[in-house]
Every structure is written in C-alpha cells, then in structure tokens.
C-alpha cells in the first residue's frame, strides 16, 4: 500500500489549497456583482461553478479508491 503522501495528502492539498482559491473567486464575483443571482442565466452558471468543483473532487476521490482497492 503506498504511503499517505502519495494517496490522500495530495488530494487534501489539491482541494484544500485549490478550494481556497476557488472560494476567493466565488466571493469576488458575487461581491462585485459580476455574477448577478437575480438573473436566471447567472443562477445557472453559479450552480455549474459549484458542481464543477465537486465533480473534480469526486473524480479524484473515486480514482484514488479504485487504485487502492480494485
């Protein structure tokens, strides 16, 4: 079994540090009204952005599990 430095630590670093950048981006575009949640189209994009983050998170988590246990 590979060490945690090759399995879950990079995963946590990627979605932790990367997640901080993502969160800052989401806060800035909301505070600046660049994304206006009163608009139907922008609400759609807001959901796409959040889902995208979890889509990639799930992607890496599933492939790590497959590598380790399948």
């Amino acid at each position: 079994m590979p060490e945690i430095s090759h399995t879950w630590l990079p995963f946590l670093y990627l979605y932790g540090v990367g997640g901080v950048f993502f969160l800052i981006g989401m806060i800035i575009i909301r505070k600046s009204n660049a994304i206006d949640l009163k608009k139907k189209r922008h609400r759609y994009w807001y959901r796409v952005l959040i889902l995208g983050y979890f889509y990639f998170l799930a992607f890496h988590a599933i492939f790590t599990l497959i590598a380790l246990y399948w």
């Binding site: 430095s5 399995t7 990627l14 981006g25 800035i28 600046s32 590598a67």
Partner: protein
C-alpha cells in the same frame, strides 16, 4: 527499427514503414487544403486574428481540444505516464479553481472592452509603459511556448527517421534542430495564408481526429496486452494513483506541479495565452465563450488526459510483460512513438503519427497567429501611428496590416525555432515545459490577476512587479537556495534546481512586490511631491531611472555578492515605484471603470454604447434582401422586433440557419428603424460580404443586448 543505448536511455530510429509515411503525407495535404479553404473568410486583420466574433460554443470547444492537447502533448504526458503512471493526468484536471475568475472576470472584460491583445489591456488599465513591459514579457512567453511546441514536434518525429541519410554521395546526420527547422517551414505555410478562421476549422477537424486516434491507440494497446484486466493487473498500485507523491521525486512531485501547473499554469493558460483567449474572443457572445470554456474543462480535458497519456501506461505494462520489446530504459520522450508502432499495423501507425504531429502543428500555428496579433497591436500599429500620424485610414491601412501580420508570422516562427535551444537540454519535454511555466508566467500572472480583481492596484505597483519582481526571480535563478523555504521539503536537483516549485517562490516575490508597492502609494506620492518641489526635478527623475537600469543589468549578469544584489533589488523596487508615480499620469477612477471585475456593468454599457436591454426575446427566422448604403444597421419588421423584444439601437446577431456551420456565416449589427414586411431583414452589402450569406438561404436573428 534501430536502437542505440547510452548509459541512461535506449533511443529508437527508423520506426515505421513507407506505408506510414504515405498516410502521413496524405493526411497533411488534406489538412492544409482544408485550412486554406477557410482563408477566404479573412476580410480584415480582425478576421485574420479573431475570426470575426461569430462562432458557436461547440465549434470553439472542439477546436480548443487540438490546441490544448497539442501544447500539453502526447510526447510529454506519455513520457510521464511511462515513468509514473496515471498521475500524468494531474495537469489536465486541476484548472477548475480559477474558472470563476475567468468566466465572470477576464472573459467579459476582454470581450466588452474590445481589446485586441493583453498588453492593450495594460495600457488602458495602467499606462503605455506598463503596456511596453507587458509586451516584452508576453512575447518571451509566447515565443517560448512556440519553442516548446517545436521541440515536442522534433522529438515526436525523430524516432521515425534514420540517424542519417545520403544525398549526392554525402552523408548528412539527422539532428533534432534540423528536423525542427524543416517542421517550422511547413508550419509557417498555412498559418501565413490561412489566419484564425483557418486555424479554428483545422483545429476542429484535428481535435476530433486526435481524440479518435488517442482512444484507438488505447484500445489497440489494451488488446495487444490481452485485455483490460491484464493491463490493469500488470500495473503496480502506485502507478494507478491519479496524483503524484507530495514531494518525491524532484522531477515529478505533486506540490511542485500544483504550483507550477495548477496555479501559475492555469492562470497563465486562461488569462495569458493569447492563442486560447483569441478562441474565446471568436465566440459570438460572452455566454457562448463561457459554455465553450466550461465544456472544455469539464469534459474535453479529462478525455484528453487519457488520450495523451495512455501510450505511456501501455508502455509501462509492456515493459513489465515483455521487457525485451519495450526496455524499461526506453527514452521516455520516445515511448509514444515506440508503443504506437508496436500495437498498430502499418498505415494505422502512420495515421496516429499524422494526427499527433498535425495537432502539434495546430498548437504552434495558434500560438504563432496569437503572437503575430500581439506584434501588430502592440508594436507595429503604435509605431505606424506615430510615424504616419493617421495619414492612411480604412481599407488601405488594413491591407498593409494584413501583409505585416503575415510577415510577422514568418519571423515569429524563426524566433520560436531559436528558442528551442533554451529547452533542448532538459531530460524530458515535461520538465522543460514545467521550468518554462514556473519562470516566465509569474510576473504577468500577478499583474493581470491583480489588475482585474484589485481596484487599488496601481501603475507603479505593476511596473515594480515587472522590474523588482523579475529581479528577485533572477536572484532565485542564480541562487536556488532562496527557493528552499518554499520547497515543502522537495529535494533540490542540482542540474535543474526546483523546476516546478520555483513557481511558488516566483509568484510570492512578484505578489509581495505588487502588494507592498500598492500599499505604499501615499508614501510614493509624498516623495514625488518633494522631488517636484526641486527646480531640477526632471534631472533627478532621469538620474534615478538610469540608476535603476544599471542596477537591474548588474543583477541580470550576476555581478556582486548575494546580499549586495538583494539590497540593490530593494533599491530598484523603491526607485521604480517612485519614478513611475512621477512619470505616469494615472486616474484611479477612469482607469478602473469597466476594466476591473468591480465595474463590468460599465464595460457592457460602453460595449453597446446605449442602455442595456436584458429582456429575453425569441430567436426568429428571416429571409434577407439587399439595400444601398453603408450604415451598419439591419431593418426588421415591427412585429419581428416585438418578438425579439428589441428596440432600435440594440445589438443583433444574424446567422445562417444551418447549425452545422457553427456560426461561420454570421454577422453582428444594430437594429435600425422597423418596416412592415414580416419575416424579412434588410441588410447592406458589407453585411452580406462579412456574413458570407448565400442568396435564398434563411437567417436566424437573435437580440444580443
């Protein structure tokens, strides 16, 4: 097939058969003819570079595949796939963190401000001097990128060629640089005569072929090994993990690659890569650009990761099951060609190699086209404007610019070939590209990023970043021990120290200079006020400029002890901040309005030129007829305008109804006064020529804003 082995790697020559070469040549001729056909859609430099802002999202999304896959090539990811397994996919699946900044920050700004190049943004947002420095840095970045593309192409073709050949009784060695020069000549041909529309359409075709060829290779490879289960069981567990080890080894570790590619590379690719940005600018609207970018990152990049890396994975499995066929010592940069040759029959191998090399050429073409756009906008046009003072306007000027654009493409191709010399000594293309990203992107990444998202960011801060930040980066190049505190424990390889993690150090020093100089604006203004109060204030300012140039040159040539160089950099940064405040006239309101994420509504208003109409209307089908006159307005019936919820002065997009064309035959214009003939739009001759509309074919009309 021949092999030569040195102490480290086994290298291959003369791979493939004459059938493969015939297939490759036919493929190239078809692609070039296909690209040349679309050259007719270039009626101006705007069309040549930007494709006339007309295309649908799907067309751009697929055409980006060839650009992305080509630049992050088969060669380098197969190499890392062969050495380290599925972690070769990392760099294709770490771009999402910056996508909110791009979709709702940079993308609307570049479209609504109608900027034609990134340096132009620097002039609007900061000053002409910031534009000048940004142009220099960006040209280095783009030409370096072209060099990496050529290096990859050369390394892809070298295993297929013999070590030497005879001509007129003389033996000539086939060298990497010789191959690259030949490729550069071929590459230059259709970009010079095709332009952006040609590139978009050849990339569209090649993107599809590339995905097909990549998956075909994976399928053939897995079949060759005896099925997926055999392939899977042959690979060690550590090869199946999707992310690399945190800090080991120095040439492939997660932390270094995260900062180099996930942060500097992602921002660089989305915000600085003019080739990619021009694709998004070719979409018909901001929303369409968002769709193209999102689709590309969510779906096309993960697929591309498999397409480009799988030859390395198959190679690894083959090196375990049949080490005589694929020795573990095989040169990683050759593994793609070696595996493709083993698993594919003659002809199919030629097709796979043609798809690979043609896609790489697409990337290089896109970059050459983009660099030529920067040259025209940021060097040629300002110089011509200064020399001719607006002597020649209109179509004559545009024709001359189009010629200059074509010639600049030729020279940029030559510079790209020369830049290969800086990268060819790295062990693999992957490391060369990593070092390139870590070193060249940080100052521009910090400058663009803070320019867009931080209103307080000033011209003195951006120019200090370009000078003081770069000086600190040079210090890190000469003394890599400076980077050690940022290395997270990654071991330093003395031959190529901190190829990836230096990105974090470089981002940090550039960011620190940017923030500190911005927050000391009041102090700079006080110092400048004191200088201005002296009678010889101009001499003082020029004297300080001279001192900073001399100190920068001393640091560039590594003159003096480390601590003296460090002090000199602090002095340079302070001087540059002060003299920029002295020389640059900066209006913090006018130069941020519509140019940062905080005032996008203003940018949109300026783009339209009148009140925004956001009411959602119908998309209608209309016939068209011609009218006299050159005014850029289209006339619809009252009823049709009501259906579209459009008012006179709103913007409208007209497009051929055939969806398969993806917006190729389309035009943007403005609603004029209505008439009473429903289902009919009246257009002038310029609309018909720009839209390449065909008599008798219906159009769709859609209100933009």
């Amino acid at each position: 097939m021949e092999t030569t082995t040195n102490n480290i790697h086994t290298t291959f020559h003369s791979i493939g058969s004459s059938t493969d070469w015939i297939v490759m040549i036919i493929y190239f001729i078809v692609i070039m003819l296909f690209g040349s056909y679309f050259g007719k859609y270039n009626r101006s430099t705007k069309d040549f570079f930007f494709g006339g802002r007309r295309f649908k999202w799907w067309l751009i999304a697929f055409s980006i595949v060839a650009t992305g896959v080509g630049s992050h090539s088969f060669v380098k990811y197969s190499a890392k796939g062969f050495e380290y397994g599925f972690a070769s996919t990392m760099t294709y699946i770490n771009d999402w963190f910056f996508i909110p900044f791009f979709l709702f920050g940079w993308l609307p700004i570049i479209v609504y401000t109608r900027i034609r190049s990134i340096p132009e943004y620097f002039e609007k947002r900061f000053s002409p001097s910031a534009r000048f420095l940004a142009t220099i840095l960006l040209m280095f970045y783009m030409v370096g990128y072209i060099g990496i593309g050529f290096l990859t192409l050369g390394k892809a073709l070298k295993p297929m060629l013999p070590e030497n050949f005879m001509l007129l009784g003389t033996q000539f060695d086939i060298t990497l640089m010789g191959i690259i020069i030949f490729i550069a000549i071929v590459t230059g041909i259709y970009i010079t005569f095709g332009g952006q529309t040609a590139v978009i359409f050849t990339d569209l075709l090649q993107g599809a072929v590339l995905l097909f060829a990549g998956f075909l290779l994976f399928f053939l490879g897995v079949s060759y090994l005896g099925g997926f289960e055999t392939f899977w069981n042959l690979l060690p567990v550590s090869w199946k993990l999707p992310l690399a080890d945190m800090t080991k080894p120095p040439d492939f570790n997660f932390i270094g690659i995260f900062w180099q590619d996930g942060v500097a590379g992602s921002i660089g690719f989305l915000f600085m890569n003019m080739g990619l940005i021009m694709r998004f600018m070719a979409t018909k609207s901001v929303d369409e650009g968002r769709k193209a970018a999102t689709f590309n990152i969510l779906f096309m990049l993960p697929l591309s990761a498999v397409v480009v890396g799988n030859a390395g994975w198959i190679g690894k499995a083959l090196s375990i099951s049949n080490p005589e066929l694929v020795p573990a010592s095989t040169s990683p940069d050759q593994i793609f060609v070696v595996v493709a040759n083993i698993v594919a029959i003659p002809g199919v191998f030629g097709f796979i190699m043609a798809a690979l090399t043609a896609a790489l050429m697409s990337t290089v073409d896109t970059l050459i086209n983009a660099t030529a756009a920067i040259y025209i906008n940021d060097i040629h046009r300002p110089i011509v404007t200064f020399l001719e003072k607006g002597k020649e306007e209109g179509k004559g000027k545009d024709k001359k610019e189009l010629a200059a654009a074509r010639w600049s493409s030729v020279f940029i191709t030559a510079f790209g070939v020369v830049s290969v010399l800086a990268f060819k000594n790295f062990p693999t293309v992957y490391e060369a590209h990593g070092f390139f990203h870590s070193t060249l992107t940080p100052p521009l990444v910090i400058a663009i990023f803070l320019g867009i998202f931080w209103k307080k960011f000033t011209p003195s801060a951006v120019i200090s970043t370009f000078v003081g930040g770069v000086a600190l980066m040079i210090l890190g190049l000469y003394d890599p021990n400076l980077i050690t505190p940022f290395a997270h424990g990654i071991e330093m390889n003395t031959n190529h120290p901190y190829s990836y993690i230096r990105a974090l150090y470089n981002l940090f020093v550039c960011g620190a200079v940017a923030v500190l100089v911005t927050y000391s604006t009041t102090i700079q203004q006080n110092i400048v006020a004191k200088i201005r109060s002296k009678s010889n204030h101009k001499q003082i300012a020029y004297g300080l400029t001279t001192v900073s140039v001399i100190l920068f040159l001393l640091i560039s040539f590594n003159v003096g002890a480390f601590y003296l160089q460090f002090i000199a950099i602090l002095v340079i940064t302070i001087i540059v901040a002060v003299i920029t405040t002295y020389f640059v006239e900066y209006d913090p309101i006018a130069q941020t309005e519509g140019l940062t994420v905080w005032s996008l509504a203003k940018a949109k208003l300026d783009f339209k030129g009148s009140k925004i109409n956001d009411e959602e209307g119908e998309i209608i089908k209309v016939a068209w007829k011609l009218k006299d006159g050159e005014e850029d307005i289209a006339n619809f019936s009252k009823n049709d305008m009501a259906k579209m919820k459009a008012n006179v002065g709103d913007l409208v997009y007209l497009c051929d109804t055939r969806k398969i064309l993806g917006g190729l035959k389309s035009v943007h214009t403005v609603y004029g006064e209505p008439h009473n003939e429903d289902g009919m739009v009246v257009l002038n001759n310029e609309h018909i020529l720009n839209g390449v509309f065909i008599k008798g074919k219906m159009l769709t009309a859609e209100k933009e804003m």
